[in-house]
Symmetry: C2
Subunit: 224 residues, 2 copies
Amino acid sequence: MPLSDEDKRAVADLPWQRRAYGREAYLAREGEPTKVCSLLVQGLAFRQKLVSDGSRQIISFHIRGEFLDLQNCLLKIADHNVQALTRCTVAIVNKEALAQLIGERPAVRRAMWFDSLVDSSIFREWVVNVGRRDARQRIAHLLCELAARLKAADQNEMPIYDFPITQEQIADATGLTAVHTNRTLQTLRKSGLISLSASKLVILDWDALAEAGDFSERYLHHSV
Amino acid sequence: MPLSDEDKRAVADLPWQRRAYGREAYLAREGEPTKVCSLLVQGLAFRQKLVSDGSRQIISFHIRGEFLDLQNCLLKIADHNVQALTRCTVAIVNKEALAQLIGERPAVRRAMWFDSLVDSSIFREWVVNVGRRDARQRIAHLLCELAARLKAADQNEMPIYDFPITQEQIADATGLTAVHTNRTLQTLRKSGLISLSASKLVILDWDALAEAGDFSERYLHHSV
DNA sequence: CGTTAATTTGAGACCATTCAATTTCGGTGG
DNA sequence: CCACCGAAATTGAATGGTCTCAAATTAACG
């Protein structure tokens, strides 16, 4: 959402702190009291929850420029974990400072509320993805979503993407096992839809991949 | 969230309109431009999305007192459908009027943002539920969630609940088929955890049901 | 009290899982 | 620059949870 220069300056003037994390490091843990909100500056991160048998469900992936836990601003206890996917750096803001800014600046408030509403819409689509689609559709859908978001964040992005996400992580995001994820990716490759190796994802046939994943980007609310 | 009398009056003074819907009626459709926000006054409703093969994933259930589409306030196009589960009545407010009130009243704004953040947290838990739990766990978890929310909304609620949700709807909410939902409910009954018939749910052993569903109510953020 | 919706039951098929072993890849130190 | 190592990806075979399809029974509603 567009912000005036004055609003941008107010955001930039927030007291913040840079912090770096290694792969798989926890940035936040379920059950902990919330103190800060984190914005991802560089790298990839994801949110997840663990279930009783120890398995992990990834709830969302995040790219640079996105908030990782804006909801901490109002919620007292974290209800999920946040983990670094690659090495990444994060800008950390005290949640009270952010809440005050939100109170003072209507445009900033709208932008942040909008951000959390889009988050929410993505969660809804993920419920649908793991609930009602088969393995091939789930993975195709996930790839489409990530490609669409990367493209929107970085206008000059090609149909070739940096893709450091492991098959085990794809599995945890789609509710599948790593083994079945592997086999399913192979069929997507054999069908000529994608090429994925060496941390490079190439979408060879966007229309076919979107079709295979039942993907429509409406839920991303990119055109506000 | 607590509101002052003045805030409550301001909310009550919003121009609103009462509307009634029959079972299965659509209150909102994916793809339509958003014009209003709806608050459920009476009855039950749910949100859902349809996938390419026509099957339905229910995304959330709603009880009286809850907003059905508060996100419409900021989003231009609806990204999911809203359906009546029972006959229900709804209070409808023009979204611009609501947005204006939110701009004027910080406490109302906080309450509404909080509401949408809890919604979001519930979606996250649902991703986990359909993604990483088996049929028995999914259904037990759903029953726990609904019971916990009904209890919180209505202090004097017994462990006996009105439960007009059909097995097909439970199936659509948990990513299962109606047939398998039926068989799984039978095992929950035989284990002595619940009794469910004639639209009455009785939770016979809360602790055991919560255990079976890997349920922890933290994500509901009831103790703000 | 009839008619439709909802629930229940059975049997067979299938998608995804499990477990284990093997191969390839990516990063590191000599 | 190559040898090495652990992580990631790949393969196979057997198991199993859930689905599909169909039919029967029961409950809900006007």
